[in-house]
Symmetry: C2
Subunit: 233 residues, 2 copies
């Protein structure tokens, strides 16, 4: 039976997602860094496909990676799965303690980074609290996350860079499109600012970033729709 | 220099924690399942030790694992670290897709399980919402997490069992000490109920559960202190 066949590195890879979701970009970057071809399957979140509902019955969210007959959910769990299935260009250090530190920062990005996506649905009078949370997150990374390293795991992009890459890149989109001011100021967060430049200039990332102006317009539109709905409730 | 010496499986292991914290028990179970001797270093959370602040400067929380000269923070990242350093009695399946599914449920326990610890600081008039969140979590596990398996990863206790073990065991403490009623009813959640019995009866877990009556008394005390503080604000 095909269902019971051994999962192979060569099985067909599909990515169920919506663009420009920052969580979907994490998976795109991991697949591109590994050099794995895949088919992008565009989802409609207001009319979710039977495939999405079957593959992610618990959260019903994108991204989902479909690999052969099996599926994996949750962006950073997909990234770890990709790293284990295709060992080339490793996304975790070999040293076991450094691996744990990298996973710590990846989890930190997942736990705290959701503040950034709050921006587009937060009313002006509650925005100061969201900004405060984001500044605290940036300060923790600046003080403890990077040291003098180019990337979180050292010289190569790894899982913590992928996790923060989406958070911090989307912060620059929100700054431009919604806040109208910078939170990530180069003189306040020099290590983090330098890391962002390194990340965005890495060839695989540079070729696979969403169009900045389109992303700004998209989140401006989402904000208007979201606050409009809230006002008309 | 000692600081730069290669981290060895034989290096001294210390666990910084407070009993009966459910997050600390996750680490205790992982160390016991691996058969690793360790020193428990009791922390005072109202006067945190310099060692805790040095080892976990970002969150300043327990548990922290100190292994030789290095430290690891966040309970489930510590459990993955322990699993990688000491490969005996593996806590993740060998199959890469099953590993991803196990990590999915471990993350689910971390993300949703915090509702259980909310119980002791939630006022009566807000308790229905917390109960609703917990029942949704239980239903998702019942419907999608276990199937006919003894444990999340199959026949052996693994990281998802450790993650949920603390959440669900503490739920039984909160039911007894605070709610005065069962949420995890055997006839509503037969698979999950059966899993809990399997988990609690596994020898290593059974020998390393907190004393039930002491835990009930502890969380009753915490609730009174927490609500008392809220009322006097």
């Amino acid at each position: 039976m095909q269902r019971n066949s051994k999962l192979s590195e060569m099985a067909e890879v599909k990515l169920l997602g919506v663009l420009p979701s920052p969580y979907v970009y994490r998976v795109i970057w991991a697949l591109k860094l590994k050099g794995i071809p895949y088919e992008f399957v565009k989802e409609n979140l207001s009319n979710k496909s039977p495939l999405l509902l079957k593959c992610n019955p618990v959260h019903k969210k994108i991204p989902v990676l479909v690999h052969g007959e099996k599926s994996v959910c949750e962006s950073m769990i997909i990234v770890e799965y990709i790293n284990e299935v295709w060992p080339q260009n490793p996304l975790l250090p070999n040293d076991l303690h450094e691996r744990a530190v990298t996973r710590f920062w990846s989890k930190f990005a997942d736990d705290k980074g959701s503040s950034v996506l709050k921006i587009f649905r937060t009313r002006e009078d509650e925005m100061e609290q969201v900004k405060k949370e984001i500044l605290e997150m940036l300060q923790a990374i600046e003080d403890h996350g990077l040291g003098d390293k180019k990337f979180f795991g050292g010289d190569q992009i790894g899982i913590a860079d992928i996790a923060f890459g989406s958070v911090i890149h989307w912060l620059t989109v929100m700054e431009e499109g919604i806040l109208g001011a910078k939170l990530l100021e180069a003189h306040k967060f020099p290590r983090l600012y330098s890391w962002l430049k390194n990340f965005q200039q890495a060839p695989v990332i540079k070729e696979n970033l969403p169009d900045f102006e389109e992303a700004v317009a998209f989140y401006k539109g989402l904000r208007e729709a979201s606050l409009g709905r809230a006002a008309s409730k």
